[in-house]
Amino acid sequence: MSDLVHLTIDGKPIEAPAGTLLIDAVRKYGIEIPAFCYYEGLALQAACRMCLVEVEKMPKLQTACTLPVAEGMVVRTETPVVADARKAMLELVLTNHPLDCPVCDKGGECELQDMTFRYGAGEGRFNETKQHIDEKQWSPVVFFDRPRCILCYRCVRICNEGMGVAALGIANRAVTSEIIPNEADHLNCDECGMCIDVCPVGALTSGPYRYKTRPWEMDHIATICAHCADGCKTTLGVRNNSIIRANNRDHSGLNGDFLCVKGRFAFDYGASQERLQTPLARVDGKLEPISWTRALKTIAAKFGEVRQRGGAFGVIGSNHTTNEENYYLQKFARQGLGTNNIDHHRTGDVITLIDALAGKGGQLATVEDIYNAPAVVVLGCDLSHQHPMLAYQLRANVRHHQAQIYPITPGPVREDNQATRSLRVDKGGEVEALGSLAAELKQAGGVVILYGDPVKGDAVRKLVDFGESLGVPVKYVALVDYSNSRGAIEMGLTPELLPGMTPSNTGGMRIGQMLASTDLDVLWVVGANPLKNRAALAGKPFLVVQDLFRTETAEQADIVLPAGSAYEKNGTVTNVCGQVQMLKKGIGAMGTKTDLDIFALLAKEMKLDLGPATPDALLAEIRTTVKGYDVVLAVLATGGAAMTGVNGPVAIDVPVDAIHSANDTMYTSGSISRYSKALTSLMEYPGELYSGKSK
């Protein structure tokens, strides 16, 4: 494939690897051949006939989307004949199109509009009755308007090939052809909305977005999704300080064109009616609104008093707050409050992996590695549910590189459909079962191993020993749950480790101990809900909670501070693979403050000198002081993902019993999902959606 062939496009000599499709080969040279049905990475269709070009020695026009480059080929992409063909295709496809652009959600960002503007005829010659079919709603989030559909089949392919769901098909034939959902009149699928995303026209539209705005009235802010740990880039469409939609406008993130149901639709939790907009304080046993000034003064006074008398603090951090916030929080706890009782909900054993790989280097897999590895093993995780983007990359790897896939899980998972072989084992037996694959993995020549929370402690060491024994390049991903679970560990939100996984060598309480302790004077919970499945604290500490909502934990607090969501702040987060990306503030929320601002105000109130507390300043500090986080700022600033280089040894005893994944499904996201109207509407939607089982 790497042999270069030379050809001439529009008089320009170009070269491209043999086997490259013409439509891809020319792009590098600034030539764009228009197409509707061509979609990079999906099966070829040659259906829209927009990419017809002239090729010397070929009597008919050729479709650039199916024609591989060949030595000496002479191609012309913009001739009167080609222009005429494109104009003709547009005239034809518009014959049954309703031309309802003024009321179409897609207006302004519609490929059919753009193409017609560029190549189309100035006037219509179609004088017949247009075929009309009523619009259909297929789910709370997916609507289909057949007359607008140009039958490019992108939706069918993204659902089938990309998602592995195959919920969309084609019915009838000739001009009555139409896209149909898998359950006659509705969809039973992931509701990921990928079909809407890839639709070049307004045929598939998003329920939550419909008729809300014109695209040009929005600001488009690219940030990182607030839900799982995969770290997908999502572009928020913001108008009047509210998020109207989230999509994947520029495909520049490490998720490529992917977004799952949460990334696309569950941006709305921040706009929930239940959102806290003022601090609350316990008055006569009930939480009553108070001012920020009073709340901060009260907390500062209490913290100061407890510190003064050498009382006990407990600090529980978040899986969702930024690296800068986490870094600052641990500094606040350790330097400001003088406590090492700091922890967060641990969802996967990253620490043992880093230690086991000490000195080896380059063995932490990136998202790209999952797409490129000759073989991928998934241990103890329902990947499509818990890490939908990684699962998407894995399917793309099978499609594009024929990767070998081996899910080793207790029950059936979607990856079985792509698997070379699936192994069913009881929880905890994953690594042992891996032994039987040694020969195949060796043969494959390179492996990425993803492991979920059943693999921890010694099992991780055994896993790495196994990987080492293969004698081929092996990379690993320790799967963790949330948008900054990885950053929480690496920024020092555990008693065992300071930032950069430097052992603290100081004892400290873990979450379980804090909740069970009767000795704590203060418990400060930031963006976490440890009392979700627990009746009450064992002791009676002064409980401060920073959160977006009155969670189970907030309900028991003495003071609740309304915090900003991930879409309301700047900063960085580290994804499941250890790749750092920048959050960009999309909106602000009335009455709330970001966690970082809250920390800073409290520090000021307590007259603590913890250094500057802005995202930029803290990132600079992290980059210079935290081991492995000397990432290139330009990469982050331009929206890229920068791989961290946290390295072992990490000479501590990993408390494996503290590691538990929340086992979220595609439609849940810890304590956040219930506040998302979009997700709750889908959970109430009939079908097998919320069964929590892989399909």
């Binding site: 269709q45 829209c48 006939r49 017809l52 179609f126 004088n127 034939r173 000739a174 001009v175």
Partner: protein, 436 residues
């Protein structure tokens, strides 16, 4: 069973057993040199078999006229994959009704042709895809296959030659598009009859993504005699580059419509006058579609020509599938164009924009025009829309719809003008028109 009387000018090669008692039975077949071509081929190398077929100048009888021997030669015989022999019995081109007779009257000839193809490309299984409407042919063929198995002419170690070959029948269910070879393969694989992107061609990746020889019923049926009597003998029956005979289906305004086996290159006018007994009711000839509805129409003046692939190509039309449709002086050419377009609009698979939308537009436009609702500008528009489809569609169905339309407008423009607004069809009252 025969549906029309044979004609003395016929040269009966493929139809030599037609009319014999129990012509479909294996006994009749064996008694009349049946399976001799196979036995001869069994003694030959695959290359020699292909050379023999090339020598015969046999060209695909489905419509495209691709040289059969060359097509077989494209199959990578050394591929480790199994190879398949697939028969296109989806006969659906309006004006064509010949494959039906070949299966009905001489199914073993088809089976033998398949087996010889199997020898030529190292294939050991074949599928006969027959359109759903021809259910009775599936029964006939299944019976013939069962006979062949029971008599050792199919299955393992055929007649002790060490050659294994299995044949299965497969029904279509109503789709003209499945006559397109790659759409047929999709249908055979249980899918919608939508063509595949080519290359790869079926020779390399056909049935079940394996190398496949795919030919028309008539093409395979010609093979046994080619092997039995030699390719040169078959070639000599026709004209240079157009070997042998073929089955012409005469229909329309003719005195003796029917299916006749005539040498390639037989003169079209003579075919109409002598074999078909001339235009019916003493009427004058107006036009002929020479090879099924997708071929550009010939005016009466253009019909003095030899019916072979090359001559018709020179006349800017096609020999197609051998469906000769004769139209007399009273025929409304607008109506004919309209009816043909209704067909293509109904049968378009819908995959690509130009065919799906173009046929639908032209159907509406031609119906309106024929009903008297046309404007002068519509005449050019009909041609323009058809030309906008031509050569730009995903598969040949778009061309099949566009080519005749363009020819009708160009050659019979006067009739279109006579239909202009306010003047209903001069030939008869407006049609009722069923839309899809």
């Amino acid at each position: 069973m025969l549906y029309n009387k044979p004609d003395p000018q016929e040269v009966k090669v493929l139809t030599r057993r037609f009319g014999l008692e129990n012509s479909a039975s294996i006994d009749t077949y064996l008694a009349t040199d049946g399976y001799q071509g196979f036995l001869k081929a069994r003694e030959m190398t695959p290359d020699d078999i292909i050379t023999e077929v090339k020598t015969s100048n046999l060209r695909g009888r489905g419509g495209a006229g691709f040289p059969t021997g060359m097509k077989w030669g494209f199959v990578p015989r050394t591929s480790p994959k199994p190879k398949y022999i697939v028969v296109n019995g989806d006969e659906s081109e309006p004006g064509t009704c010949k494959d039906r007779l070949l299966i009905e009257n001489d199914p073993h000839q088809l089976l033998e042709g398949m087996m010889i193809a199997g020898l030529a490309v190292d294939a050991h299984a074949g599928y006969v895809y027959i359109r759903g409407e021809y259910r009775y042919l599936i029964d006939i063929l299944d019976k013939a296959i069962a006979e062949a198995y029971s008599r050792g002419w199919l299955g393992k170690n055929i007649q002790g030659t060490g050659f294994d070959f299995d044949v299965y029948t497969q029904t279509g269910a109503g789709a003209y598009e499945c006559g397109e070879e790659s759409a047929l393969l999709e249908s055979l694989e249980g899918k919608r009859g939508v063509p595949r992107i080519r290359p790869p061609f079926p020779a390399v990746s056909g049935a079940f993504q394996c190398p496949t020889v795919l030919n028309n019923v008539e093409t395979y049926s010609a093979v046994p005699s080619i092997l039995r009597d030699g390719g040169a003998a078959f070639a000599s029956l026709g004209t240079p580059r157009n070997g042998g005979t073929r089955l012409f289906c005469l229909s329309g305004h003719i005195n003796r419509p029917g299916v006749y086996e005539l040498p390639m290159g037989f003169n079209l006018l003579r075919m109409i006058e002598e074999v078909g007994g001339g235009v019916w009711r003493g009427k004058k000839l107006k036009a002929v579609i020479p090879g099924g509805s997708s071929c550009p129409v010939l005016t009466a003046d253009e019909c003095d020509l030899a019916m072979d692939y090359d001559t018709l190509a020179k006349a800017k039309t096609m020999l197609g599938s051998g469906g000769v449709v004769v139209m007399d002086e009273d025929t409304c050419m607008v109506k004919a164009a309209m009816r043909i377009m209704r067909f293509y609009a109904h049968e378009s698979c819908g995959w690509c924009i130009p065919c799906r939308e173009g046929t639908a537009w032209l159907r509406k436009l031609l119906i309106r025009f024929h009903d008297g609702g046309g404007a002068r500008s519509d005449i050019d528009l009909i041609g323009d829309v058809a030309r906008n489809m031509l050569g730009r569609t995903f598969c040949p169905l778009g061309d099949a719809a566009a080519m005749p339309t363009i020819s009708f407008v160009e050659k019979f423009r006067g009739e279109f003008e006579a239909h202009l607004a306010g003047r209903p069809c001069p030939h008869e009252h407006a049609d009722h028109l069923a839309l899809v």
